[in-house]
């Protein structure tokens, strides 16, 4: 119960901080202009979403979120979102010590300001999140430029995160982790019906990277893992969008991931969408993920290994993800919301070869700010 109380208290404090940060970001946007994001929605709107997640370990997460896309001038705008993840029976690693489960909550807020300079867009933004035993603060900036009569877009960005995991069960031992990440993409319109995007992203993480909740078996003893304090990650992506005759669209994405912990992963996805008129779209997709384990991964350790882990994220496994999505925009608006409001319903089913399964369901409403 102490764990739960601490979690709730921390999450409340995080929520207050998050709301404060959001207010500050919006205030800053209202006062002055500022730079902005490379990927902006075309329409001013606000959105409300409810995400649910449940998995085969008995974990349930409810995540209400809110989003705002606002243009202050033809050149300057704001994108902000906030949300809460309310987590019950927080994972098997918690249940090991808390047989009745241990609730948690994570609150986050992020905002970015953008400004256009001719064909160039610049953005700056930030995110803050806090939960019972973890907090993260991120600052980011990005720039994009359209070329070739808007048939080509090049974009790049940089982000820095300071993450502070708490070494549970202690509430006072706080570690630090630093993450620098950068990306570059080229998006190209190839024909009237084809667009492609290639991208590269890298991140360098230093500091504490162990998992304070999971224990590996070393010489028959259960011990917290010990991970290297440096990790360099790379991902290369290629994405294709193709419009077919009859309001049908296909998409195909690929990501090749490598890092210096020797995790290698190939992730493929393919999807099909069809527009049944201007107000109804149905879409489905399949994603396949295959990854190797980290170089120091072993099911059981013997002797005195320098590094060892029980973190399932760096185990070798394959995973499948199935997604179905419906988007509808009623002609007369939706409920009390104005004309142009859209409703999105999405279901996902995920399973991997570590006998883990999960399902998510999302209901999202997006309301235009202007008619």
């Amino acid at each position: 119960m102490a764990c739960r109380a601490a979690g709730v208290a921390a999450s409340n404090a995080g929520l207050l901080l998050a709301c404060g940060a959001l207010a500050a970001a919006i205030g800053a946007a209202l006062v002055g202009g500022g730079p902005v994001t490379a990927q902006q929605p075309a329409q001013e709107s606000y959105g409300i979403s409810m995400h649910t997640f449940t998995d085969s370990r008995g974990v349930t997460v409810l995540s209400p979120t809110g989003e705002l896309n606002r243009d202050f001038t033809t050149r300057t705008g704001l994108r902000a979102s906030f949300g809460v993840d309310a987590i019950s029976a927080a994972s098997d690693s918690c249940v090991r010590c808390h047989p009745d489960g241990a609730n948690n909550a994570r609150a986050y807020v992020n905002a970015s300001l953008f400004r256009k300079y001719g064909d160039t867009k610049v953005s700056v933004g930030g995110e803050y999140s806090r939960e019972a035993f973890y907090s993260a603060t991120t600052g980011s900036t990005s720039i994009s430029r359209t070329l070739n009569q808007a048939n080509t877009t090049i974009a790049g960005g940089y982000a820095f995160s300071l993450n502070r995991p708490v070494l549970h069960p202690s509430d006072e031992d706080v570690e630090r982790q630093y993450a620098h990440s950068a990306f570059a993409t080229i998006t190209q319109t190839v024909t009237k019906t084809t667009a492609v995007q290639v991208g590269y992203e890298t991140s360098r993480i230093t500091g504490y990277q162990n998992n304070p909740f999971l224990r590996a078996t070393v010489d028959g003893l259960r011990m917290l893992g010990n991970h290297p304090e440096h990790r360099l990650r790379h991902s290369l992506t290629a994405k294709v969008r193709q419009a077919l005759p009859g309001s049908t669209y296909i998409e195909a994405d690929f990501r090749r991931y490598t890092d210096d912990w020797q995790v290698r992963a190939n992730t493929w996805s393919a999807g099909l969408a069809h527009e049944f008129g201007p107000r109804l779209t149905l879409a489905g997709s399949y994603r396949r993920h295959e990854q190797t384990g980290a170089s120091f991964y072993q099911p059981v350790y013997t002797g005195q290994p320098e590094f060892f882990t029980a973190d399932f994220r760096i185990f070798p496994f394959d995973a499948d993800l199935y997604t179905g999505r419906l988007n509808v925009t009623p002609k007369q608006g939706l409920l009390a919301f104005r004309e142009g409001t859209s409703l999105t319903l999405q279901y996902e089913y995920y399973r991997n070869t570590t006998k883990f399964q999960a399902a998510t369901f999302t209901a999202a409403i997006r309301v235009p700010l202007t008619r």
Binding site: Y158, I186, H234, F254, H289
Partner: protein
């Protein structure tokens, strides 16, 4: 070289070739199909953010969806 890597390289080469040969520009009045939300690379920020968040809490690979946030303590 594994089959997956060969396919990945082939896909990259095809994508790069598309960029190189894309000098025949598509005019603004020819972009009706391209403007569809189904043709966007990140059509819905909130859905994409939620998906990448829970996937990264289960998988060791990350990236390819724009700048990364600070992660979470999800275990």
């Amino acid at each position: 070289m594994t089959r997956a890597v060969r396919l990945a390289l082939l896909m990259m080469v095809l994508a790069a070739s598309s960029l190189v040969t894309a000098c025949a520009t598509v005019q603004p009045w020819q972009r009706g199909r391209l403007a569809s939300p189904c043709m966007q690379f990140s059509p819905d920020g909130e859905l994409a953010a939620f998906a990448s968040h829970w996937q990264e809490s289960r998988e060791g690979a990350a990236g390819g969806n724009g700048l990364q946030g600070g992660g979470c303590g999800c275990k």
